[in-house]
């Protein structure tokens, strides 16, 4: 699980993924990828959403978005969270997991 950095409370967390097929080639996914952010122990889902519906900046398979990391949204400074991005290529589901800190 890859660490992607620190997000300050009440700022944006950039989320991105390179969707690939089974051969590792960047590929436009079948549908819009989704993301979920969990507490460190995976017990709680804090927030969730979708990435953009189309490839970003003419980069095949590259999808992005940002999540608002707010106190009202359930985030606490000093905690580590897990981000899971899900996408589907040729009817096969793929998952990528990341961790980040909030300060």
């Amino acid at each position: 699980m890859q660490f992607i950095g620190y997000c300050q409370l009440n700022q944006n967390l950039p989320i991105s993924v390179v969707c690939k097929n089974g051969s590792g080639t960047p590929t436009t996914p079948d549908s819009t990828p989704t993301w979920k952010i969990y507490s460190r122990n995976f017990v709680d889902t804090i927030t969730s959403g979708s990435l953009d519906a189309s490839d970003f900046d003419s980069m095949t398979g590259f999808r992005k978005k940002f999540a608002s990391i707010t106190t009202a949204g359930g985030y606490t400074a000093g905690q580590i969270y897990v981000l899971v991005v899900t996408y589907t290529v040729s009817s096969t589901d793929y998952y990528e997991a990341f961790t980040f800190g909030v300060n």
């Binding site: 992607i4 950095g5 944006n12 950039p14 051969s23 970003f56 980069m59 992005k64 940002f66």
Partner: protein
């Protein structure tokens, strides 16, 4: 890959390992390009990288840039071709203010006061001596 905390308007080295679909390091068909985005996905810098090493190391490219005046989390997206197939990867980093304590400690450590002075005698010969202010 997370590449750490960096000061805005200071040099930073960006490195990428180009690879094929199996993840094996391969030289790119042409030099890889990068695009650096801020936390709202606005483009703040872009360019290309040069081969690294002598002789060149397979698939290793790097470039040094001055980090733009952008705050928060930045994303550096790389793009390259291997055998005419286009690949992407991305790195993330923080600018100062988001974990700055660690970075500032290293920054000041790199600037020690040097207790030496350069002196010369009547023949014009130069030598280094301990600076008496630091004895």
């Amino acid at each position: 890959m997370y590449i750490g905390v960096h000061n805005q308007n200071h040099p930073i080295t960006l490195t990428v390992t180009t690879h094929d679909g199996d993840g094996r390091a391969q030289d790119a068909d042409a030099v890889p390009t990068y695009r650096l985005y801020d936390s709202s996905w606005a483009l703040v810098a872009s360019g290309s990288a040069a081969p690294k090493g002598d002789p060149f190391l397979t698939g290793i490219y790097e470039t040094e840039i001055i980090l733009p005046d952008a705050t928060g989390m930045l994303t550096c997206v790389w793009e390259w071709d291997v055998s005419s197939t286009t690949y992407h990867s991305f790195d993330t980093l923080n600018t100062t203010g988001y974990g700055k304590e660690i970075y500032n400690a290293a920054y000041f450590y790199q600037q020690p006061r040097v207790p030496m002075v350069l002196v010369h005698d009547e023949t014009g010969t130069h030598s280094q001596k301990d600076n008496p202010r630091f004895r």
